[in-house]
Every structure is written in C-alpha cells, then in structure tokens.
C-alpha cells in the first residue's frame, strides 16, 4: 500500500538541474545532489565494503582518527641523515613518492639525484653522476619508507642535515631536510654550482646554527605553530609565510643566545627570513609524525600517506599495511608563471601532499584567502574546496581550525570508502616543476588526486576483509 503524507514534498534532485529550479519557483524545498558517473568499481566490492562498513571499517577508522588527533609533533633537534635516519647508508638516496627505478624517474628527480651525488662528492660532474645512478651501485628508496618526507624531488642523501620531529604521544620520529628556498634548487632538479654551494652552506653554516638554537630552545611544538598559522592565512602547503614568521620569532632569540659568530647568525636569519617556504619542511614531517602511528589498523580505510614521485601518484592506507597503490601522476591545471604553460609542466611531484593527508594544504584552503588566485580567483572557490573535502574525510581535526568556518576543525582522515563512493578526489595544493631538470618552479595551483590508487586500495581492502 502506498503511503503519502499530504505536505508539499521536499525534493532531492539528481541529474538535470533545470528541474530543481522549476521546483524552487513553486516554493518547494529542493537540494541538488552533485552527481557524477560512478567510478569503475564492480558492484561486489561495494556490497562487501557496505556490509562491513558499520561494524568493522568505521570503528577502525574511528580508532585511526583518535590516534591522529591525539598526536603531538615536536621539533626536538637536528642531525646528519646518515647518523639518524633508520636504514640510511652511504649508497642510499631517498626520494619523494612511491618507489621508482632510475629508468622511470622524471627529469627533475634525476636532476636532483645528479646534484646529490655531486654534493656527496661521489662524482665530479653530471655525466658521471648519471652513469653512477644508472649503474645499480646506488640504492633508491622512498622517503616515506625511512620515516622521512621531502618536498618536490624530495632527495635526501647521507650527508644532508635533517630536522628531527618526535610524536611525543606515540614515540615515533620523522625527518626532513632544511628548505632551500626558491629559484634554482635541488628539489626542482637543479644541480649547478650555485645549488651545490648552497647545499654546502646549509650543511656548514645553517645546520650548526639551527641545531644549537633548537637544542637551546628545548622542544618546539610544530603543531602549535601550524594551528596559529592557519589563523593567519596559511594553509601550510602553498602558503607558509605565517608559519615561517612564527618559526623565526620562536627561534631568533635562541640563535642570538647561542651565537658563536655574528656573521653566520645574521646569514641564517636572513636566509630563513628570505624563504617563505622554510616552514614547509617542518609542517611536512610534523604531518607525517602524527599520521604514522595510525598505520596498520585492520579494517581501517584511512589514508596514511599520499605522495608523488613525478611519474606515479601513490597512497598508503592504514588497513592495507605499507603497500603502495599507485596511478599516473596528473599534470596540474595550475596558474603558470609568465612565459610558461602546461606544456612545460612535470607531472605532480613531491611528498608535500602529506599536509593534505594530515588535514592541511588543499583541505584547509578556506583558511588561506590570500592564495585564491591559484584556485580560480575567488574566496568562495577556496571555501568550496575545503567544504567538499569534509565529504571524503572520516572526521575533523581537533587542533587545526578554520576561522572563516567558525573555527570548525579542518577535514581530517581521508576515507578511501568515501572517496570511491562519493566520487570525490582529494584536492592538493601544489607547486609545479618544469619537466626539464633545474629550470625550477613554473606555476602553482590545485591538482586532484587520480582515482586509480584509491580504487585499488578500495578493492584490496575489500579482499583483505
């Protein structure tokens, strides 16, 4: 028997939008469901996931989110990669993204490896470096598999100094190099003399000064700085101006108090002051430090890492262990600097999407109206990116808040199930590298994660349960 109530119906419209406007004209309450053709996933996977979601997956995700939300990422010190990064050895070079062979590496990543081999004194020039890199004598591994994160090419070689971040709630550590600044830099694949000289200066001058200052300061709460930076217009991925300012405010007195030579200290302060992105290499390892303890929770569909190596886009998911799921890295639709276009762009690259995985970057765009030109030009668009990400996250950050959303927590804990079933890809703020090594950054914008890795993770999760 049909049952109808006699009120004006409230309507959900899926499909032709015109129908919704006609209903609105009649004074009907109507909501448009934003619809796209579903992703190519066989129905049996959906059935299995749906049957397990409430009792197995959701509780596992809840646990993962509690772990992430209770993390406490502290900058505790600095050291040289070889002495502190687990598994680091003299023939190992770490790179961004999922695992990749020398043969499949993109231009900027190869350029950065050439630079690192010259910096390490392993070869004299690029030609020799290429031969050495291709010889099999040098081992390559993802930063993520050694508790590290690296922006763009993300190269970490044994002699490089690294920041040490500790998650005090869970006792795990993460590491990242010091940010080099913009222009011709290693992470964009440049390996000329000025690049190597700067890396040497960073090892010989910047590192000792900062190391002493951090030791003197004791612990620096990076998440506290991130939370403040969000209130000051950063989303802590493409905009780190507030974060860097806050960091310099925190560290400057200690740099002065531990000064051995005024020239070096001044140079260090100048260097940090001149590099708006200095804080990125702290927000990234901090994000990883709070995400890592949520790995390996059986049944959890929460994404623990999203990372790109300039060829592949990879993700790791809590419930599927440390397995990488990969798909082709997309070429960003970005705002290109004058003289450059999409033709020049390398596919998306870098571990910096760990910030999005941790509820920052593209997920916190609503906090950063100053960079809306990268996302189409209006604050409304920046807002809609953040709002749409709530639809694919299991929860919200209890620490990171967005002022313009009445201090709502940022969307946190990307849920593979929601990505697939709602057909919404995570948005990532990104810098765009020139596809030729060493040219540097050619644009910035927003890129959507490819669906392939999420589809594979979804199916694997279903198969494992």
């Amino acid at each position: 028997m049909l049952k109808l109530n006699k009120d004006k119906p409230k309507v959900i419209n899926i499909g032709l939008e015109k129908f919704a406007y006609d209903l609105k004209t009649q004074g009907v309450e109507v909501v448009n469901l934003f619809w796209k053709p579903p992703l190519p996933v066989e129905n049996n996977y959906h059935q299995k996931i749906n049957s397990l979601y409430e009792n197995i997956i959701a509780p596992a995700n809840k646990k993962a989110l509690e772990i992430i939300n209770s993390g406490k990422a502290i900058l505790t010190g600095m050291d040289i990669a070889l002495s502190v990064i687990p598994g680091m050895h003299k023939d190992l070079i770490l790179h961004s993204g999922p695992p990749i062979s020398w043969e499949r590496m993109c231009g900027p990543m190869r350029g950065a490896i050439i630079g690192a081999l010259i910096y390490e004194g392993r070869t004299k020039n690029a030609e020799e470096a290429e031969k050495l890199a291709a010889s099999g004598k040098i081992e390559f591994a993802p930063c993520h598999e050694h508790n590290c994160t690296g922006p763009m090419a993300g190269i970490i070689s044994p002699s490089m100094p690294v920041f040490i971040i500790k998650n005090e709630s869970y006792g795990n550590f993460t590491y990242a190099t010091q940010n080099e600044g913009l222009g011709k830099v290693l992470r964009y694949g440049a390996y000329g003399e000025e690049v190597i000289n700067r890396l040497k200066w960073m090892e010989k001058v910047l590192y000792p000064v900062l190391k002493r200052a951090i030791e003197y300061s004791g612990k620096i709460n990076i998440q506290g700085l991130i939370a403040q930076a969000l209130n000051m217009g950063d989303e802590v991925h493409n905009r780190n101006r507030a974060g860097t300012s806050l960091f310099i405010r925190q560290i400057a007195p200690a740099i002065i108090k531990t000064m051995t030579n005024p020239k070096d200290s001044a140079a260090v302060l100048d260097f940090i002051n001149g590099n708006d992105h200095f804080f990125l290499n702290l927000s990234m390892p901090a994000s990883k430090a709070i995400l890592d303890p949520a790995r390996n929770i059986t049944g959890s569909s929460i994404v623990i890492a999203m990372a790109r190596n300039g060829t592949d886009f990879g993700i790791q998911v809590s419930g599927t262990g440390n397995k990488w799921f990969t798909g082709p890295a997309p070429v960003p639709d970005a705002l290109y600097f004058p003289g450059f276009s999409k033709e020049d762009a390398n596919p998306d690259i870098g571990d910096s999407s760990i910030t999005e995985t941790g509820g920052l970057g593209g997920f916190a765009l609503a906090a950063a109206p100053a960079i809306v030109q990268f996302v189409g030009g209006t604050a409304q668009e920046a807002m809609s990116y953040t709002l749409s990400m709530y639809n694919i996250c299991y929860g919200e950050s209890s620490l990171y808040q967005i002022p313009v959303l009445d201090f709502r927590g940022t969307p946190l804990g990307i849920d593979v199930v929601k990505v697939i079933q709602n057909n919404i890809a995570p948005v990532i703020d990104t810098g765009v590298a020139h596809k030729k090594p060493g040219v540097g950054q050619v644009g910035a914008g927003v890129v959507k994660a490819p669906f392939e890795p999420f589809i594979m993770a979804y199916k694997t999760l279903a198969d494992n349960l």
Binding site: M1, L2, K3, L4, N5, K6, D7, K8, P9, K10, V11, I12, N13, I14, G15, L16, E17, K18, F19, A20, Y21, D22, L23, K24, T25, Q26, V28, E29, V30, V31, N32, L33, F34, W35, K36, P37, P38, L39, P40, P330, S388, N391, N422, N423, I424, A425, K448, F451
Partner: protein, 505 residues
Amino acid sequence: MQIKAKIIKGKYLDSIKLMLISRELRSLIGVLEAVAIVATSENREILKASNMLVDEINSASENDIAIVIKADSEKSALEAINKAEELINQPSANNYNQSPIPHTYTLEKAIAALGKADLCLISVTGKYAAAEAEKALEKGLHILLFSDNVSLEDELTLKQKALNKGLLMMGPDCGTAILNGVSLAFANNVPRGKIGIVAASGTGLQEISSTIANLGGGISQAFGTGGRDGKKEIGGIMLTACLTYLLEDEETEVIIVTGKPPAEEVREKLWKLISLTSKPVIVNFLLPMQIPEQPNLFYTCSLAETALVACQKAGMEIKNKNLSDDFPLPPLRGPYLRGLYSGGTLCREAIQVYFDNFGREPFNNVTDQDSFQLTDGWQTKEDSIIDLGSDEFTVGRPHPMIDYSLRLQKLAQEAENTKVGIILMDVVLGFGAHPDPAAELVPAIKKLPADLIVVCHLLGTDSDPQNRQKQKKELQQVGAYIFTSHHSACEFVCKCLQVYRRAKC
C-alpha cells in the same frame, strides 16, 4: 577544415547543460559543428558516427568531458574550445540566471539538509539510474525516475521494493507527475482539486491535467508510472497501486486512468479494482476498446473528452464544452499533412484521429504496422506524423520540448515541398519545457510560404511559466491556427484534408 578536441578531466555537467553549451558553440563564427559531451562509450559512438571521434578522445574516461570542434580555421576552432572551457567552468547558477540551489555531494547530506526529504527526482543517464533509485528507496524516498534506458528487470525490482515500503516508484521514463500540488519534471501548473490521475503516459497526463485546469477543475494527485508499467512483465503493479491509493484517497472524488493499452491481465486487474468501489473512474487508453459494463467505469475516445467527463463527474457545471476556438476551414496549397510532434502520446492520439477519419494510419515512426512505418523519420512522405521525441532524434540532443532547433529544421524542410499543404504541431508549455516557444516558432513561421497552413496545439494553462495567452497571441499573429484541445486540432486538420481531397475528386 580543422578538427580540434580537448578533454576536461574529472568534470561532469548534466546533458541539458552540455547540449545548450554545444548549441552556443555551434553559433560561433567559423564553427561548423561542435560537441561538448561526457566521454562515455555510448557518446563516443555518437562522435564516431559523426566523424568527430579524434584520437585525443581515446584517453578520456567516463568521468571526463570531451569537447570536439569542427571549424573552418584553426583559429576559429581554438577560440571555440576556449569558449567551451569558459562555459563549462562557469558556476551553474549562471545558466539559469538564478541564485544557486543548495547542493550536497551525498544523499545522506541532502536528506539532512532538507530535514526530512520526501521524494527523489532522478534524471541521470539510464545506465546509472537504477542504482541511484535503489539508494533513494533505501532511504525511504518516493521516486520519480525520469531517466529512460532502464531494463525491465530493474524496473520490476525497483517497483517491488518501493511497494514493499509503501513508496511511489514513478518511471523509469516518467516525464511528469503532480504530487500534493507540486509539478514535477515536465508538468503544468494546475490548481488542486478533486480529480486524481494515474497515467502511463507523459503528455497524456499533461494534456488531461491542463484541460481540467482550463475547464476550471483541479487535481488531487497525478501519478506517472512510466510507459511500460502496463506490460505483462511489470504487471501494472504501479498502475494498480496508484489506482488503489486514489480509490481510497478522501481528497479524490473522480479518477482518471490513461496510457497506452495495458496487457489484458493488467486491464482485468484494473476493472476488478474499479468494480469494488463506486468512485467514478474515467479510462482512456488512446484506442477504441471494449470495456466491461460497470456503473462507475467510463471509457472516452480522446484525452480532451477524458478531462471533460472527469470534470462533469466531479460535479462541475461546464458551460462551454468547446475546449478550443472554431475556425473556418482554410484552403490547402497541397494535398499532404506533416505532423511534427514533441509529445509521444499526443503523436499517437493524432495518428488515432487520422485513422478514425481515413480508415488507415498516416506514415509515422511510432507504429508497429510495417506498411505505415517510416524507417527514417527524416524521410517523410504523403501524410506523415512523426514523433521528434523518439530515440532516433533525441540521441545526443535535448528533448524537442526543450530545444526547438530540430523541429524548426524539419519545418523548413517540409515547407519546401509544395505538396505539403498543412503542418500539425504540438507546443508544450509548463515546467521543464522551453521557456518561450513562441520566440522560436514565430520567426520560423514568418519565413514559411503564406499558403502553407500551420496548426498548433498549445498544451498548457494560463498559470504556466510561459504564459499561455501570450504564446497564443504571438503565434496567432503570424497566422498559425491555435487550438487548446489536441483532439480538436487533429479533427480540424483532417477536415481540411477531406475538403481538399473532395474538391480534387
């Protein structure tokens, strides 16, 4: 000639919007053909058929939009692509000059946003439609499934599931309904009243409900079931459920049942239900038909008469039973009729009226009688009545009730043939339909030879968004014969043809 293509990844717009964009692109200088389309495998076939499947499209997925431009120069093609990107990326509210409607990404959030939702109106591409309908049924929502190309198996499953929960499952391929006074999809603005309708036909429901409104009556509920509900495979389960509801509904005093003739066992079920009550039920199945003798069962021979009888049974005093103006018969310049329809049921009624007058069908594209079937709707001959809303015309295009371009093209083509003496068309008003049909038709009719007679049936009410009186006046000013009853329009056309033919004998 230059062909340029572009893929916009991960973007989705509904088909009407893409078609309107395609149309705007075609109007650009130097552009010969333009398509903006979701890159599904079906749509690729369409592109292939029109030689527009260029290599770039092969990398596109079903989640991408493909733009293909044929232009006289590379510059024109690139300009058109830029324009296409601009149109595709503009916020959707701009398409309708209205403030945006709230949108959500998930059904759960849509329900939450409304507090409590009642109905889900689904018009996504057919192959995805059943899954969306099933999800909405799970949430306890009534469904109006506008989409077609849903399998009979899915239709049956969905309808059974709906009825188990006491829910309406209108469609697939249900174009119209009026629920508690709200017009859904292609429906007219009619007042509330005592007459309930259950219809397995879209324009049939529209014609009857509009006529009732124009006679001064009103509608309690008008349910659409989709055209296949009366088939043996579906067993008329939604027809019978809706009829049962209306028989018991206190607001409904008179009931109308209409649609293509249901299967015999379905008809038996309907007669049985009707025989158990005393509420008057008016039935029209678009064909003359034997019905059982029951005091409360009335069978009518036209959609207009169905409305009239229902109003009478509802106790209304009908002073003027003439639903349309009367006109003196004009002389024809040639012997043949061409009917160019947008409404499927109206097209069938026109064929039936013709049959009643001439003892045979006109050539048409909806019949199952081989001898009168036009295999190609473009190749009309002698007396022809075609449904431009049928699949052969609507693949990759908006429905002719929304987009008049195909009909205008056909009209101009028919006018060139001096043997065509009279044109018969339906002009459907109401929600969903073209916002101003006269704006399309008036310039086209003006260009026609003055001795070609144009007869239009204007379906709608004075409260429809298009303003029926304004449409009527504008069309009459360019010499068209405007009827507000479809049956009268068809009779008028047949009389004109008979007069011409008698004079020639």
